[in-house]
Every structure is written in C-alpha cells, then in structure tokens.
C-alpha cells in the first residue's frame, strides 16, 4: 500500500520538476533569427501563388 503511494509521489515530483524545466525553456524569448527566417521564406514564395496581402 505504502509502495504505490510512494511511487505516485516520486512520479509527481519528477513530473513537476520536468514541467518547471520545460516551462523555463518555453519562456525564453524566441530569437529574431527565426522570425527573420520565416519572413525570408515567405518573401521567396512565388508571388503568383497569392497570399501576399495577408
């Protein structure tokens, strides 16, 4: 009985810490280079395919 509770507790501690580590990474500012890259990919599109005006 104590064994399962203990396991649950371990899993809980691990997952909570995991989420904190992950959240820290999610909260990092996305470098401009990626936004620039997307803008560049978009501008290389064939303008005849439309969608430029969005």
């Amino acid at each position: 009985m104590g064994h399962t509770r203990r396991k649950d507790k371990e899993t809980e501690v691990i997952d909570e810490n995991l989420r904190r580590v992950y959240q820290d990474m999610l909260d990092e500012k996305v470098p401009d280079r990626f936004l620039d890259l997307i803008a560049q990919l978009r501008s290389q599109e064939d303008p005849s395919s439309g969608g430029e005006a969005q």
């Binding site: 909570e16 810490n17 989420r19 904190r20 992950y22 990474m25 990092e28 996305v30 890259l37 990919l41």
Partner: protein, 184 residues
C-alpha cells in the same frame, strides 16, 4: 481555418526550441536544428494534413533531423553536462531539498530516447498515441521509455531515499515550487 498553415509556424517556435534543447542539451545546436526544421516544414507543408496536430508534425521533422545527424556523426552529440545545465544554474542545495539544478543534471543523463519520451508525455502533455506517432514507434515503446526515464531519474536523484517524500504534502509542494530567489 482555410488560411495557410504556415502562418501557424510562429506559434510553435517556443515549443520547438524547448523540444530541441531537451534533445540536444546545447543551445547552439538546438537553434540550428530549429532553423533546419523551419526550412523543411516550409517546403513540405503540402504533406501536413490540415486539422491534425501541427506541433507533433514539427517535432517529428525536428527529431528526424536530430537522429539522422547523430547517425552521421556516429556518436552522441556531446556536451551533456554543458550549456543546458550551466545556463540555468542555481544555488547549491543547503537543506537537502531537491533543487532544479540537480534535476537538470539528472535529466541530461537519460538516453535521448528517454528524454524525448518523457518531455513529450510528461511536459508537453502529448498523449501516448501522439508521442508514439511523433517518434515513429509503438505506444507500448513510449510507455516503457517514459517509465524507464522516471525510474532512472528516481535513482539518480535518490528520490527513493529522499525523506522529504515521506513527509507531508506541504513538504512536497516546497520541493515542487522550489523557492526561487526574488526578482531583483
């Protein structure tokens, strides 16, 4: 819903970077992988099925890039103890509580496959099914990787001997919320 799915890419950038960093444990390598993934996703967008999980689709591209590079390199991308842990270092434990830095050090010791499974299921909140599809393996394989990852972390962090775990929920919450230094 009828717009270009590529307009959504930007919304997935933080998660893509976090996933890349979890896999590579190295900021520079992670960002190069995110860049590759964006270029590939842009050109392969026609293979994305509208209405399905775009994040899972992007993660699949990213991890395929990572594992194919790893195969080419013939070795694990090193620096396991490097930037990932150092960039976010904290004060050492003074009272025996589990510190986030300890957790990071243990986390980077998992195998790539274990880290990936645990991040997808435990942090990103993917279903076992989505995680399995992202990794191109059976659901049972993902479950066993997640279980082995948790067992290994338990062992590395000595959680099985951690007296705090026998204590009240209050003690657990202290571990979990881990009193961060006040913002300066």
């Amino acid at each position: 819903m009828s717009g270009d799915p590529r307009d959504e890419l930007v919304d997935h950038l933080p998660a893509l970077r976090a996933f890349a960093l979890s896999l590579t444990r190295n900021g520079a390598v992670a960002d190069d992988m995110v860049q590759d993934t964006l270029v590939k996703a842009w050109s392969k967008i026609s293979t994305f099925e509208a209405g399905t999980n775009m994040r899972a689709w992007l993660f699949t591209i990213l991890r395929n890039t990572y594992y194919s590079n790893r195969r080419k390199a013939g070795r694990e991308v090193s620096d396991a103890e490097g930037i990932f842990t150092e960039s976010l270092s904290e004060k050492p434990a003074h009272d025996g509580r589990l510190q986030l830095a300890d957790f990071r050090r243990a986390f980077v010791k998992l195998t790539d496959e274990q880290r990936e499974a645990l991040i997808l299921v435990g942090a990103q909140g993917f279903s076992y099914e989505d995680a399995a599809e992202t990794c191109g393996v059976a659901v049972g394989t993902i479950k066993s990787r997640v279980n082995r990852a948790r067992a290994r972390l338990t062992e590395l962090l000595n959680l099985d001997e951690h007296e705090g775990l026998e204590m009240t929920d209050q003690a657990t919450m202290a571990v979990v919320t881990g009193a961060r230094p006040a913002a300066r």
